[in-house]
Amino acid sequence: MPSLGADMDSGTLLEWRVAPGDRVTRGQIVALVDTDKAEIEIECWQAGVVERLIAEVGQKLPVGAPLAWLREESEAVSTAKPATPALAVAPAATGVRPVRPVFASPRAPDARPPAPPPSRPRVAVGESRRVHASPLARRLAKERGLDLASLAGSGPGGAVIAADVQRAAAAEPPAERVLAVAASVAPTEAAAAPRDRREGMRRAIAASMAKSKREIPHYYLETSIDCGHALEWLRARNESRPVSERVLPVALLLAATAKALRRAPELNGFFLDGAFRPGSGVHLGVAVSLRGGGLVAPALRDADLRSLDELMAGLRELTQRAREGRLRSSEFSDATLTVTSLGDLGVDRVFPVIYPPQVAIVGFGRIAEAPWAERGMLAVRPVVRCTLAADHRVSDGMRGARFLAELARLLARPEEL
């Protein structure tokens, strides 16, 4: 179960899109998972053959729990049967790898973790965080409203097996049990009602923003940028194009941000386990507000390498899917810096809050006419106020100031974006 944001600690499997024996490619969508925020398509990060599905549809799993076993193409089919299925711990002798590192990394969204050294027992990472129990035991415990951690396991390695749950259930007062069963029925019907979804999203945003304000020492910088030339250039460009190929000013802002980030690596990446890890590319999180409340900030990958038209097409497609609730797992975890643009709502400037584990966020207010003094002359120009909030544990104001200056310089030359 990949982490799809610092605010996620579990997810419910809604659907498998693959079956044992299926060959999967890198980036292929293998499952659909429900989180507080949205239904998310889970991508596989490595090619191989699905050996076995561990998670069951409807099952709620903590981040880090294995979803399936994946066999690499080069590996021989394991003859030892995936031994202790109850434990999701593969014996060292088989060529089976734990799938968690393969599907997605829970803490460092950008870094694909290396395979564990072969000499070590191949224990699925994240196991320590959860109780060892068989899938059947889990289901039974959930149905009966029992906490797995409170049960004594009699299975291999102390794992909780079905018999343990049944024993414990028999010891429970019957009335309470009936209540617990009734209470557990509704939430297991996986597709959350819109109201639940809104509340879930509110909780997720609350957790992530509270963490940010609690832990990240933000510093803020702002610069005003004259967009006159950029807008004029864009207007003329759009005039000669059909509506489907027009580019919005926000795409220019994103393009300039992405290219400026190339020269500001300290603003582009993650702060994890007490250290900064630069992003492996410039993947811009684009804050998309959802109708009915809440927001998501899926990643536009390699935004600095895209042409303006490609960026616009990507933005359109991403916004569309975000609003339809059809985002992919990588889009939730890959963003190396988020951009929020609230200009459409008429605000002059944004004081954004960093989305952890990212280390900076860029905000744009509306582009509005303002008095502009230059070379001793006063003029009226379309001006945008661009703010940067950055993590002082990773960078200093000097670096942030240089980044904003570079962004302004790029916006003055839109032809080069």
């Binding site: 759009n238 005039e239 059909p242 509506v243 027009r246 926000v250």
Partner: protein, 82 residues
Amino acid sequence: MTREEIRSLVLRELGRIAPEADLSALPESAPLRDELEIDSMDLLNFATAIHEALGVDIPEADYERIASLRGCVEYLAARLAR
């Protein structure tokens, strides 16, 4: 195409952009941007949908003329009559 047909087409496309809105209660001359919380991306998608449905390509310079439901219907009727 009659005004009534244009109007129902406009309402259909607005409904795709703002599925939660009660379009039957939409005031004729109020700004759509405020009534339906339409942002620039929504507007672009709306213009694209109109282009596909009616073949009318609304230039950016004309966006202010389609700001309300009534304005939008009038504008499209005029463009189609050309």
